[in-house]
């Protein structure tokens, strides 16, 4: 299956979902030369927005990742209303829907730290590279520290 994360992102925007792209793809969208395998989003946790996400997930045959083999589980609406992380595989690629990230930062907290990007003609919000760098610096994961020089240099060359 060819990677279609770009299409997945555009579909989320086209569906009217309210979310902020975080993680690797947010950095790539802002010019960081790295490769990321999945789309991470922090979503607005309102019932209406969760319904939009569920409808899209069902349309793209989403299944939970990291679960033992067996029949697919029904989508957990309650979990999507909470701050936890729901990891899916869709027919357009892996999608991680995060209620909150480090420091308990949720959609409302991250929105002022985000900027608009045009993806396939759709406007999406991506977490600003400066904020991504700040969070990576605070992280205890070696993988996050390994990519810091590249992210910091991208930020320096991009400018404000």
């Amino acid at each position: 299956m060819a990677s279609a994360l770009t299409n997945l992102l555009a579909e989320l925007a086209a569906a009217g979902a309210e979310f902020i792209v975080v993680g690797g793809l947010a950095a790539v969208a802002q010019g960081a030369p790295l490769t990321t395998l999945d789309l991470d989003i922090v979503h607005r946790r309102t019932p209406g927005n969760v319904d939009v996400l569920i409808e899209l997930l069902e349309r793209h045959n989403a299944r939970y990742r990291g679960r033992p083999g067996g029949p697919p589980l029904p989508l957990d609406r309650l979990a999507l209303l909470g701050p936890g992380h729901s990891l899916f595989m869709t027919d357009l690629g892996p999608l991680d829907i995060l209620g909150a990230i480090e420091e308990g930062l949720d959609y409302e907290a991250l929105l002022p730290r985000s900027r608009q990007a045009k993806i396939l003609g759709r406007t999406v919000m991506v977490l600003d590279l400066a904020e991504i760098v700040r969070l990576k610096r605070l992280s205890s994961h070696p993988k996050d520290h390994a990519m810091l020089p590249l992210l910091e240099e991208t930020l320096r060359r991009r400018g404000p």
Binding site: A2, S3, A4, L5, T6, L9, L25, V28, A29, Q30, G31, A32, P33, T35, T36, L37, G93, A117, K118, I119, L120, V126, P149, L150, E153, T154, R157, R158
Partner: protein, 61 residues
């Protein structure tokens, strides 16, 4: 010039700074966000092809 360090002194050299390929960054910054994400899609596909190739049952040449 005479060293002030004693015979048991250890001189620590700082760890070398990681070099970042700024050419690649500049090339990415010249693209628009959609083009950058499409590039990521292509890289993911290449990695997947490599992974399948490395896991292949065919004997090495």
């Amino acid at each position: 010039m005479k060293s002030l360090a004693g015979p048991d002194a250890t001189i620590e050299t700082p760890a070398p700074e990681l070099a970042v390929d700024v050419t690649l960054i500049d090339e990415m910054l010249a693209l628009d966000p959609t083009e950058r994400l499409r590039l990521n899609d292509r890289m993911v596909d290449m990695l997947e092809d490599l992974r399948r190739g490395l896991g292949s049952d065919e004997p090495p040449r």
